[in-house]
Amino acid sequence: MTGDHQTPALLLFSGFVAVTLAITTWVSRRRHGSAEEFYAGGRLFSPMENGFAIAGDYMSAASFLGISGLIALYGYDGLLYGVGFLVAWLVVLFLVAELVRNCGRFTLADVVAARMSERPVRIAAGTSSVTVSVLYLVAQMVGAGSLVALLLGRTSGAAQAWTVIGVGALMVIYVSLGGMRATTWIQIVKAVLLLSGTVVLTVLVLLRFHGDVDRLLLTAAERSGHGRAFLAPGLKYGGDWNARLDFISLGLALVLGTAGLPHILARFYTVPTARAARRSAVWSIGLIGSFYLMTIVLGFGAAAVVGPGAVRGSNAAGNTAVPLLALDLGGGAGSTGGTVLFAVVAAVAFATILAVVAGITLASSASVAHDLYASLRRRRGKHRSEVAVARCAAVGIGVVAIGLGLLARDLNVAFLVGLAFAVAASANLPVLLYSLFWRGFTTRGAVWAVYGGLLPAIGLVLLSPVVSGSPESLFPGVDFQYFPLENPGIVSIPLGFLAGWLGTVTSDEVPDEAKYAETEVRSLTGAGAV
């Protein structure tokens, strides 16, 4: 990355920031501070708007740059990774979207607490939601720092640190001033930008190969130096059995975790009905699916046009594959077209990060204010106070995320995204599904399901090679590695389900038939939905 690409990229960055701040101001100009407004944007978004916003919330820079980079370097294994992100949406559509919209108000805990003794359940579900959000947030912040530094060619520590601080400050402003309405519009704008950018690049790649996908794949395979093996699985995840099992574990976490991500669940509360929630999920599946399909073309395109050698030379993880591809497609370094396309890609990646972190911050501030604060501090019953707490929580979470982002700046935190999905799948999904579908589920079962997934997931990661025992781990100097896999999902997800079952069958509590009837009737008919 040389200096002449930076000015247009910086201009576009500033443009996007200005637009998003204008949206925030516009939206907050007549806010009246109700919880409905802050957490759910008044529940007035249309399915199409919400579908775009979900796509904007979900498609992170890790997908845009990370997956295409993986494909550029390892070929088919990058595609394998991307598939899980899409198939996960079937779980959301079939089991979660409509029912959660019908039963809950703002958070995951609403759905569970409706049937149970409220306090312990809310504290448990709130804790796991905040944990998932913070893990995801730190991954995004660190990613933002290194990405922007990389795209702007400023690899100094100060540039990274200021990027992390800037992203954190912006997300706090969006969320605490604009709430869900501003966050949603930012995500819609970002989704449109990201999809348009991807479409343009995909079309350019296909034009370069005269629409001949076969030739694109063969050229990519040839240039990769791996030949036909580039088009088959095994280059990245096909090592020893640990590596293979690790990928299966990651795949399970991806597919089951999406339905437990708090910021995704929160999006379904922004539409008026369950039917609208279903239609927004259908929209988002269409958008996300097309996006990942185009990502595959971009990845193989980067391998064919730029070549894995040049990609690896710029960034070992492959994160610059798409920017480099854009530079090449636009006419090469130094040309106007190349500079413009490069700037567009850099700005889109930046917009992507901002929209995703805003969504996560909002969801975690809802968990803090609506679940944890409301359960732990019982005296203040005033209506306005919860939104005020949520705004403060957004600031607090922003500070924590900036702090952790700065601390973890030089660490390889790519595993954090997989971990966030694994925790969501182990701690949030079991309790959610049991609450919706199991007549005999009890309070103890709910609490055990959450902690029985959360604690093993975190514990196993602490004992895994990402923390200690290998040269790439966070603490290379010490060795307390007892669990061989980087992703705990394959163990912790079954444990979460098992703990929920065990807690239920061992508890003396008689399940409340009437409450279950209420959950079931409400979830499937929408009676009494807010």
Binding site: V83, L90, D214, A221
Partner: protein, 182 residues
């Protein structure tokens, strides 16, 4: 946003109420909620259990209300749950979702396991640059789209109308059980 929302008004009472909330700018939802009969149902134990620190717009009326009405409202849901119409809706949902979820999870896990443990099989060429792995991967995309389409169609044709009727019936019953408390 407002205009596009109009499409969904027929679905239930949610949009109207939200729209009222929206247009009634400046009024907090505290003022709006008591007009909404469903809020009393929720105040009787749904969603806002401690009434403290929660948004709890309907807390004052709920607190004033005797437990008997709340108990009757609870019975309404049991009654609806046991009704044939509801059993039918639930049956239709489950008969579609259980096989559906099983099918796509098995297909996905089989795909991931095959890709990691049997790369030789997956690398077998089919035509041109396309091999089994490529077909399976694109097949995942295709089946995801197909499952989505099938689910949306099934829900639209087989569940929506019945669920909407049940929703109204339930709310009518609940209104009766509340005994005009709102």
């Amino acid at each position: 946003m407002q205009s596009s929302n109009g499409r969904h008004r027929g679905v239930g009472d949610g949009p109207e109420r939200s729209a009222g909330n929206q247009e009634d700018d400046g009024a907090s939802s505290r003022d709006v909620a008591p007009e909404d009969p469903w809020y009393d149902t929720s105040a009787s134990g749904w969603g806002e259990l401690d009434g403290a620190g929660m948004p709890a717009p309907a807390v004052p009326p709920a607190r004033a209300e005797p437990g008997a009405a709340a108990a009757r409202a609870r019975d309404v849901y049991v009654e609806v749950q046991r009704s044939e119409a509801f059993q039918e809706v639930r049956g239709r949902y489950r008969r579609f979702v259980v096989p559906g979820v099983t099918a796509f999870l098995v297909w996905y896990v089989a795909y991931v396991v095959a890709a990691t443990t049997a790369p030789g099989l997956m690398a077998r060429p089919v035509v041109g640059a396309v091999n089994v792995a490529m077909l399976a991967g694109l097949g995942q995309f295709l089946t995801t789209f197909l499952f989505t389409w099938a689910y949306a169609r099934h829900a639209r044709l087989r569940r929506d109308r019945a669920a909407l009727e049940l929703r109204w019936d339930t709310q009518e019953l609940a209104r009766g059980a509340q005994g005009g408390a709102s």
